[in-house]
Symmetry: C2
Subunit: 407 residues, 2 copies
């Protein structure tokens, strides 16, 4: 299978203070222009929080990291792509330890301060010699400039066509803090994260408990609200490292809220990028469900619409097929009154009072065809909770990519 690269979204966000990163090709991927090993290094111990896949069949690195987070004293993340180290039994877990030990040794940090991430093919053992050689190589070229950031982000890509990055800064207590995020994921992406890896770095000081709580909340509203194909994978992980390199006391009160906002924005930007880079996608679907009694119900409706192959193909065909959207909401399992449901596509009213309204189908089609993003708004008029959900359309290209990607 060959992936056609697409241009990275500019500008490349800056790394927070005290982090160095890098990536390189170690031979896990066949194509020598594709990085497959990356390192994230913090010059001082960082707190770490994490959210993992809910799949019962979870990969060795998930088991390995889950035992270490949340916590403090972290110095590095060792990453490989091309091999997920999933369904590899006890040897898989041993291989995680070897990978962490190799990074610890080369970087001269405690082994307990290393986390590992893997993504790629399932059911094969890690090629440890290649990974060790890759870690050696990448450790020798760590940096904090754009090139270093891009190669590090490329080192965790699989079928992604480009690295996904986000960044922002915020001020608190007279100091300026930086937040940086990178992610991978283009298929086997379903709510509850799927084959998605996300790394968020900050130079703020954040207590592990705060970090874990805020990452959980942000993930729930962002990475858990994105679906390419509804398929939750074995390796999903989002890690948040806060190294406090800017100095200052642990964030609290309003400062912590500013951090929470920056974190949530970074996660949302990355989640949207994942849907945008969905395999074969020609459209991002932004599905906003409002007026629900509970947020879980809003999410369930949004997810059902997002995962309907009929909705996804309709958007691909620029077809304002309100019937497929309304009927998908209707079989979501959430109870609501269809006569109070209001549907808009790209701001144009299509359905209310249990029936379609007279609308200019050509105009709606044109609005779908002419933009990368299609906005689907469903208002239930039965509560105050809402959700925003991202998905991608379903194309023949998705089928080609996935019918030809062999184990």
């Amino acid at each position: 299978m060959s992936i056609t690269e697409t241009p990275i979204r500019l500008p490349i966000p800056p790394l927070p203070k005290g982090f160095r990163v890098g990536g390189g090709h170690a031979g896990l991927k066949r194509n020598p222009t594709r990085e497959d090993v990356s390192l994230i290094v913090s010059d001082q111990p960082a707190t770490a929080a994490a959210v993992y896949t809910t799949n019962l069949v979870f990969a060795a690195p998930v088991a390995f990291d889950r035992a270490r987070t949340p916590g403090e004293g972290f110095r590095a993340i060792a990453i490989n792509s091309g091999n997920a180290n999933a369904c590899t039994g006890t040897r898989g877990l041993d291989d995680c330890r070897s990978m962490a030990a190799a990074a610890a040794s080369r970087l001269d940090v405690p082994e307990a301060g290393v986390l590992v991430l893997s993504t790629g093919i399932i059911g094969e053992f890690l090629p440890l010699e290649k990974i060790r050689a890759g870690i050696d190589m990448v450790a020798g070229r760590l940096g904090s400039d754009s090139d270093a950031v891009v190669t590090a982000a490329r080192g965790m890509m699989t079928t992604d066509t480009r690295p996904k990055l986000s960044g922002s800064s915020f001020q608190a207590g007279g100091r300026t803090y930086t937040l940086f995020g990178m992610a991978k994921g283009a298929a086997m992406v379903g709510p509850r994260m799927a084959t998605m890896l996300g790394i968020i770095l900050t130079d703020a000081t954040v207590l592990p408990a705060d970090s874990q709580r805020l990452l959980g909340e942000a993930t729930e509203q962002t990475f858990n609200c994105v679906s390419v194909d509804g398929h939750t994978s074995t390796n999903d992980t989002v890690l948040l490292l806060a190294n406090g390199a800017v100095g200052g006391p642990p964030l609290a009160g309003k400062d912590l809220e500013l951090f929470a906002k920056a974190l949530s924005d970074a996660c949302e930007a990355l989640a949207r990028e994942i849907a945008d880079d969905g395999e074969g996608a020609t459209h991002v679907l932004r599905i906003e469900v409002t007026g629900c009694p509970t947020r879980d119900e809003a999410r369930q409706i949004a997810r059902t619409v997002a995962d309907s192959p009929l909705v996804k193909t309709a958007i691909h065909g620029a077809d304002p097929n309100w019937g497929r959207i309304v009927s998908a909401a209707g079989y979501s399992g959430v109870k609501f009154d269809p006569d109070r449901l209001v549907l808009r596509v790209n701001g144009i009213l299509l359905f209310r009072d249990g029936q379609p309204v007279a609308f200019d189908a050509g105009k709606v089609s044109d609005s779908i065809r002419s933009a990368r993003e299609t906005l689907i708004e469903l208002e239930l008029h039965s509560g105050r909770e809402s959700i925003r959900f991202y998905s991608s359309d379903l194309t023949a290209e998705y089928v080609h990519l996935n019918a030809d990607y062999h184990t």
Copy 2:
């Protein structure tokens, strides 16, 4: 959109005694070679049972028929394709009444003895004049031979490439009874029936309560175990008419069990045919999940595997991608021990003890490539309940058909 027809499966099963059927073109579909109005007529009053869509957004004919079944005294079913009479408000319900009245008047039967079925585009009012003219025409050419059966079955097709028929006979109390079934459905087919219409006819005598109970049980194990795209529609209906034309008392005891078996077999044959005729399908997936604590859990796992675009594209590509199957089971929401899971594809062991076994991938690929049906067996080793589920693979042709089918 143009549908390429495929040959009907032979032989054409015989109609039970006392039924006449027919179909014709009344102009709801553009192509004049496609029937779009059908009638099913019983020469004597029949009992009727029915199972309907669980979608909250249900069509007018579902509301109309639901108020009449289960019951007795039924003489006719009036059917149209090309227009679903869904999301049409109170006028939709009025149109059902007009359609039933037109059939009652033309056939000289009580209006209360007529049921209606519609399938096709949602959100447009029925073209009643065309339907009335169609009913007039079809009523003049009712019959019980193969031609009549085929035109009647074609009259409820939408994107189906061929009529779906099944039939059998059984003996009870010295009498021979006949069971006949016909169905439509090729997409918007998800568990809980989706855009699927099914009609079962028998010349046995069956009490309405027995008929309703047995149809519910049969549907649960057959039509509710088939998924093309997981999308439950607004119009799903399965009707069972028993007219007692062979004579004899209402079936009871062992005779009723024989009937139940014939009914279940007919429903399963039709359900499998629907998956086989899934839009763009090149493979039928038969998913057998065994060893579960409950049948609902077995169904949930089967359905999750059946609806995974990654599993569906893998089978299309003849790829024995056990990782996609195992991880789909893992995110189904059912708790089980992945280390006890055993996976076979076309009888070949791929996965057990939490890891893939050494298997001949070429041999499995060949077995997938060379047969229309792919058998996926998942054994959980944690109970005695099981389910059989049918699905179809996902192809670029599915995307083309559904991206170009406009409202």
